[in-house]
């Protein structure tokens, strides 16, 4: 009997398995292909805006993604450097096979107790509304387990479209899984149908890369994982180019053959990731769209054509491609395609990612409505930790919106009615200034440690660092010198001011203060780069950070105010019709969740509060 069985070995699956083992559960990972863990099905890159922050959070929670990225990274770039520290976003090109390899090595080395079973799950068995076992195709008896984490990606009733041809598959040459969809339906879950797509892989030797704009790794050294200290791979460039009117013309002429346009695909694709045919048709005034050739890996014969996602017939993809600069002789290694798959609407989930319907069943990744490796990874980690914590009868791991992108993601999933694959953006986080890539450990260290996801040594190190940051801030607030000792001093150079005050000026950096004041300032304090960065941001953004922290404080109580899942919304008079319907559908777990449901007004909430009090006799607070 397992404590936790994970179905699916993608990014959600491996983080779930690793997290469950870290917490201390007897865990098995069920996958169709043992040697294809954590495959990068779309672009060979990790991170980017908001996603880079998510990887840092996964790392802070003891996950694998950051370290595996560093082990396979062949190009590092920090996006948004000029726009402020909260939106700095780490991104890396990785070697596609190297990433899978890194994950497999990490699991083998760190999680030897994890059972990896190569088999296909065909049904999830339940008794009295609780998971009991997983029926597989290859075993005569079910795999008994206390909980199941379903991370099936695009495999549930996966249907691949290339032009007018379709075939059932989860990834290009990998079999779809249909029985599990029936199993979910049988348990009473509603299913949605989402769509996503990927661009063609182009044969590298057929492209004249000399004619394209080269984009290299940046010189600055930084890493995704706290444990990485160097670059592990030789760095490689990408190549930028643009589409042109000629290519657009080919696409336009045969737009009727696109399954998205001729009605073959009815499911909803992500608007933030449109196909090239979408871009051409929706923005006819734009003469060119940017594209990037990304290496599939070192020595790999293919390039990934970022920006050219398409489900047009292969010959149209090729025709359009060959009209681009340097691509006259291009050959396609594998055409772009669209894939449709089943999704459980994530309002079915609690914030532990356990379903409200079936005890012990957790969902993570695309099956729960998201898109992206990083989004899948953080969910897998949260689900894996919580499944294990539940079996071990310990406190669940809840991430708040105010402390992490992971919290924003989970909260959005359970409160929004999503109608397209959900991707993280920094603009989804109302406390964006606090959720930075540089402070993930400080934000999540305590929760990670309490859940058993990181060691006490690591937690101690995190605490010591936070402590040093605080001591620096205190020092800067207490040391007062005349302005002229630090900068020209404006109208009143003799005026004595505290250093933190002067640091609000862009030219007054912490390093400058250290250089100018020496041991008067640094006595008893050390200043490693991570501390310096944290101190500078805390001091220069003080007013803004304070504002956001006050706001968090103000609404904190609402998350603590629980609503029982069985609360009878029909027994309450006074709700608006829209609010009643929303509340019944979503069954919010907390007052805070209820407040974020679209259509639930402050007066609906006031009424809800009154009746919560009535039914619970005061336990609501």
């Amino acid at each position: 009997m397992y404590d936790v069985v994970i179905i699916g070995g993608g990014h959600a699956g491996v983080e779930a398995a690793a997290a469950a083992v870290r917490v201390g559960a007897h865990t098995a990972l069920l996958t169709l292909q043992k040697n294809a863990l954590a495959r990068l099905s779309c672009n060979p890159a990790m991170g980017g805006t908001a996603k880079g922050q998510l990887i840092k959070e996964i790392d802070a929670l003891g996950g694998l993604m950051g370290r595996a990225t560093d082990l396979s990274a062949i190009q590092y770039r920090m996006l948004n450097r000029s726009k402020g520290p909260a939106v700095w976003s780490p991104r890396a090109q990785v070697d596609r096979d190297g990433y899978t390899d890194a994950i497999e090595r990490l699991i083998a080395a760190r999680y030897p107790e994890l059972d990896i079973l190569e088999d296909e799950a065909v049904a999830i068995l339940t008794r009295d509304g609780r998971v009991t076992a997983v029926q597989t195709a290859g075993r005569s008896t079910p795999v008994l387990t206390r909980s199941v984490i379903l991370c099936s990606g695009t495999f549930l009733r996966g249907l691949i479209h290339v032009g007018e041809r379709q075939h059932q598959a989860g990834r290009y040459h990998e079999n779809a899984s249909n029985a599990l969809s029936d199993s979910l339906k049988h348990m009473g879950f509603p299913l949605l149908r989402f769509k996503t797509g990927t661009p063609p892989r182009v044969v590298k030797s057929t492209i004249d890369l000399e004619r394209l704009e080269r984009q290299d790794s940046e010189a600055d050294l930084w890493f995704f994982s706290h444990e990485t200290t160097r670059r592990h791979r030789e760095q490689h460039p990408c190549w930028r180019l643009h589409t042109n009117e000629k290519a657009h013309g080919f696409i336009r002429a045969r737009i009727d053959e696109s399954p998205m346009y001729n009605g073959t695909i009815q499911s909803v694709g992500p608007r933030y990731c449109p196909s090239i045919e979408d871009k051409v048709m929706r923005f006819p005034d734009r003469p060119a769209h940017p594209l990037i050739f990304e290496p599939e890996g070192v020595g790999h014969p293919w390039l990934y054509l970022n920006g050219f996602s398409s489900s047009m017939p292969v010959e149209v993809q090729l025709q359009a491609l060959r009209s681009l600069p340097g691509c006259g002789e291009a050959e396609i290694g594998r055409p772009g395609y669209a894939v449709e798959y089943d999704v459980v609407p994530p309002r079915e989930l609690r914030r532990t990612l356990e379903t409200k319907r079936i005890g012990g069943l957790y969902l993570a990744g695309q099956i729960a409505g998201t898109s992206g490796y990083e989004e899948a990874g953080i969910q897998g980690l949260i689900a894996g930790a919580n499944a294990a914590l539940q079996v071990l009868k310990r406190e669940p791991l809840h991430l708040d919106r105010s402390e992490s992108y992971g919290g924003v993601l989970v909260d959005d999933l359970v409160t929004l009615d999503i109608d397209e694959p959900y991707r993280m953006f920094t603009s989804r986080a109302e406390y964006r200034l606090l959720l930075r890539q540089d402070n993930a450990e400080a934000r999540l260290g305590e929760k990670a440690f309490s859940a058993g996801l990181i060691s006490s040594e690591r937690y101690e190190a995190i605490r010591r660092r936070s402590d040093r940051v605080q001591r620096w801030i205190d020092r800067l607030k207490t040391v007062r010198v005349p302005r002229r000792e630090v900068y020209d001093g404006g109208k009143d150079p003799a005026r004595v001011e505290s250093l933190d005050h002067m640091m609000k000026r862009p030219e007054v950096t912490l390093q400058r203060l250290v250089d100018l004041l020496g041991s008067d300032l640094t006595e008893g304090l050390s200043l490693e780069p991570a501390v310096r960065k944290a101190v500078e941001i805390e001091v220069t953004y003080e007013g803004y950070l304070e504002r956001q922290r006050r706001e968090i404080e103000r609404v904190k109580g609402q998350e603590k105010r629980r609503i029982p899942l069985e609360f009878d919304y029909d027994s309450v008079p006074g709700f608006s019709a829209e609010a009643r319907e929303k509340l019944k559908r979503h069954k919010p777990e907390s007052f805070g969740q209820a407040s974020r449901l679209a259509g639930v007004t402050p007066s609906d909430l006031a009424i809800l509060l009154v009746f919560l009090k009535k039914t619970s006799g005061g336990a609501a607070a």
């Binding site: 948004n80 990731c273 871009k279 923005f283 990037i292 929004l416 989804r428 964006r432 103000r554 009424i607």
Partner: protein
């Protein structure tokens, strides 16, 4: 985001309209602290016994007296709401009640929602469970009233205007967010200069909108018009002329008017509170100086100041007034030749009158109402709620901060913070939330995604 149930809330508890007394109350964990800080002696306030009436002076930020009031305080849990509770019985009049209420909000209280005092009473166990439905019904009813009131406020194109501003703000923020979240799409982004200009123009239009709301308030609550100027410029004579009877004490000795006088008038349907003030001049006389202080305070709070000058030497309005209410510069004693010479000599004179003969006084009345109701469309019924004004003024403040941040060339993420604050605040008027709308707007209007 909904309002918390743990913070401190304030409300004007007595119904709208002028009455002899009005009650402003505040409840919550910080009620006594906030209420105390609204008085001239917070320390003394905190030591008051519960359920004992005490006379207090309510003051504004600068220490100017807003009103003298009777304060009653209850300590948790022995109060109606079960939390600390303070009630101020003030001298009626919406203007006074509003200024006290505004002061409490400035000090950190949140404007209470419909039925919220009762709701707290219930939540804190001050009512039996059977009353839950009654409370719900009350909330519902109050909300309906509020909705109806809001609908009335929003008639005559006002709602459309707020929504139009919202839409523009959304677009502005979307463009900023676009450049933060979609960095590799090579989108043609706006220059900082364009963003500043768009923000400024939004701010200007918002100011205009507030102006229009203000006209509505003036019609209901009356305009506060202050007659000010140097000693012996003829202020009291003008007041008497306007009031139609001898109200203020008039004498030839400069500085006769020691305190301000208040006359309520009706000018073509616009209720007017007319204040005569002590002449502004340097004075060694303590009583007169006190009068001057009050005059300054009064002018700042006024909706319009009539600045009266008379020969021989025209005095200038204090510079502190430049950011204050609109000012009409009026030359008095136009019936005499020194007055006429002065009017000819001075630039930017709005009007010349003679308070003694009444010449030009009617024109003055028209000029005042024109100036105050500028941009106001008499066909639109505008219901004024302090909540709306506060939200508009908060929106305006956030936009001003955004402009400052833009001008200093700070990081784009900070501009986003201010614009988002502005948008959220405006959204509280129309009840529209924007978190999802923002991304919809981006997806719909820009070619993003790889």
């Amino acid at each position: 985001m909904i309002d918390s149930v743990e913070d401190t809330i304030a409300a004007v508890a007595t119904p709208e309209g002028n009455s002899a007394l009005g009650v402003v109350r505040v409840t919550g964990p910080r009620a006594i602290d906030i209420a105390g800080r609204a008085t001239d002696n917070p320390h003394r306030f905190c030591s008051f016994n519960a359920r004992e009436a005490n006379l207090v002076r309510l003051v504004d930020e600068q220490g100017h007296v807003l009103d003298q009031a009777v304060a009653l305080l209850w300590r948790a849990p022995a109060s109606y709401t079960g939390e600390d509770l303070v009630e101020f019985s003030c001298h009626g009049g919406r203007a006074v009640l509003r200024s006290v209420y505004d002061r409490l909000v400035d000090l950190g209280a949140r404007p209470a929602g419909p039925g919220e005092f009762t709701q707290r009473a219930f939540l804190n166990g001050k009512m039996s469970l059977d009353e839950a439905e009654a409370v719900a019904a009350l909330i519902e009813a109050r909300t309906t009233t509020a909705v109806r009131a809001a609908a009335r406020m929003m008639q005559g194109g006002m709602r459309a205007r707020v929504e139009e501003l919202q839409q523009r703000l959304l677009d502005l923020l979307a463009r900023v967010e676009l450049s933060l979240d979609f960095v590799e799409e090579e989108l043609e982004l706006e220059t900082a200069e364009v963003t500043i200009n768009r923000t400024r123009s939004l701010h200007d239009d918002l100011t205009q909108l507030r102006q229009q709301f203000k006209a509505g308030r003036l019609l209901r609550e009356g305009a506060r018009i202050v007659i000010a100027g140097a000693p012996n410029a003829g202020k009291s004579t003008l007041l008497n002329r306007l009031a139609g009877h001898e109200r203020a004490l008039v004498s030839e000795t400069p500085g006769t008017t020691r305190d301000y006088l208040d006359v309520v008038l009706d000018w073509n349907g616009l209720p007017v509170h007319l204040y005569d003030t002590a002449g502004l001049r340097e004075s060694a006389d303590m009583i007169e100086r006190a009068g001057t202080d009050r005059t300054n305070a009064l002018m700042k709070e006024a909706d319009l100041v009539i600045w009266l000058v008379a020969p021989p030497e025209p005095s200038l309005p204090p510079s502190s007034l430049s950011a204050g209410p609109p000012l009409l510069r009026v030359v008095n004693k136009y019936d005499l030749s020194p007055g006429q010479e002065l009017a000819d000599r001075l630039e930017d004179v709005d009007l010349a009158i003679s308070a003694t003969t009444g010449e030009g006084v009617e024109s003055l009345q028209h000029l005042v109402s024109d100036r105050l109701l500028e941009g106001y469309n008499p066909d639109s019924v505008i219901l004024w709620e302090s909540r709306h004004d506060r939200l508009l003024s908060d929106t305006s403040a956030a936009l001003e901060r955004a402009i400052t941040v833009l001008e200093t060339g700070s990081a784009l993420e900070l501009i986003a913070v201010e614009l988002r604050t502005a948008l959220d605040t405006l959204g509280q008027i129309t009840g529209r939330s924007h978190s999802e709308e923002l991304l919809h707007h981006i997806f719909a209007n820009f070619c993003i995604g790889k």
